[in-house]
Symmetry: C2
Subunit: 180 residues, 2 copies
Amino acid sequence: MRRMQLSRAFTLMEPGPVVLVTTSDGQKNNVMTISWTMVVDFTPLFAITTGPWNHSYAALRRSRECVIAVPTVDLIDQVVRVGTCSGADTDKFGECGLTPVKGKHVSAPLIRECLANIECKVIDIVKKHNIVVLEGVAAYFDGSRKEKRTLHAVGDGSFVVDGRKLNRRNMMRSKLPDGV
Amino acid sequence: MRRMQLSRAFTLMEPGPVVLVTTSDGQKNNVMTISWTMVVDFTPLFAITTGPWNHSYAALRRSRECVIAVPTVDLIDQVVRVGTCSGADTDKFGECGLTPVKGKHVSAPLIRECLANIECKVIDIVKKHNIVVLEGVAAYFDGSRKEKRTLHAVGDGSFVVDGRKLNRRNMMRSKLPDGV
């Protein structure tokens, strides 16, 4: 897992993959499956929708830190398992065979098995809409991984796997931020 | 294009496809390409990130209505063209060969060529983060279309096309809302 340019971290989230969001309450790590996310700025800023119904929310709110980890298709059953049990009564990392890795800027762990990880600080919570706004402070990408296809949750219990990639870079050049 | 159950409309957006968002200022229709979107609630509520840098934003803010249209891979060049010209000096529907269709609940038009359309009301604008919160009030799906693969913008000028679908419905049943 190597550092990647922070200015490119939004490209991990813009396609809309289902992600794992880790937190630490100082004693215990937790992780939740989230597909309600969006990019808010290139800097990068991200929004995720979560609230008290997720056990992770208390640690997220108190520590004001988390890691967004991007899993690939080979991790689908871990993603589903993380999303269907609760950190209230489960050590999700152990249960799901995920390996926490110490980050540099936040107390929440990276996930070794994931394609990419973004260390994030909570910069605002829009309580009215259960929207948490995050700033990415460091990003990592595992370029050595062969499987790079991410998953998109449909919301009905099915997932769409990344298919082929189409290039429209020349047509879009005027709209791309510097360095991307 | 047939009405679909509103309770299932979030499943159009949860996978994170790039979408077209239409507006009307009462005289002229406009459309923008947006990939910074997320589901906020099953009801359905959606968030999109936009602001004064989009010409559509003025009409969105004043009319407090829009339509989210979901294009498929065969429309990629229209999606890119819509995203790289401005409604300030272009009739984007005419220019891009998109057909506006009158909706039932909002002044903004549906797009005939798209796989799905969701009529939306603006219920809040979180100015600090340029987040607009939308409530879907009617949804439509064109089941007669053969091409149903949507596009995911990476943000670097490339797009990922939907690949195969994996079913984890049994494992996830406890987490699915009623009727989904």
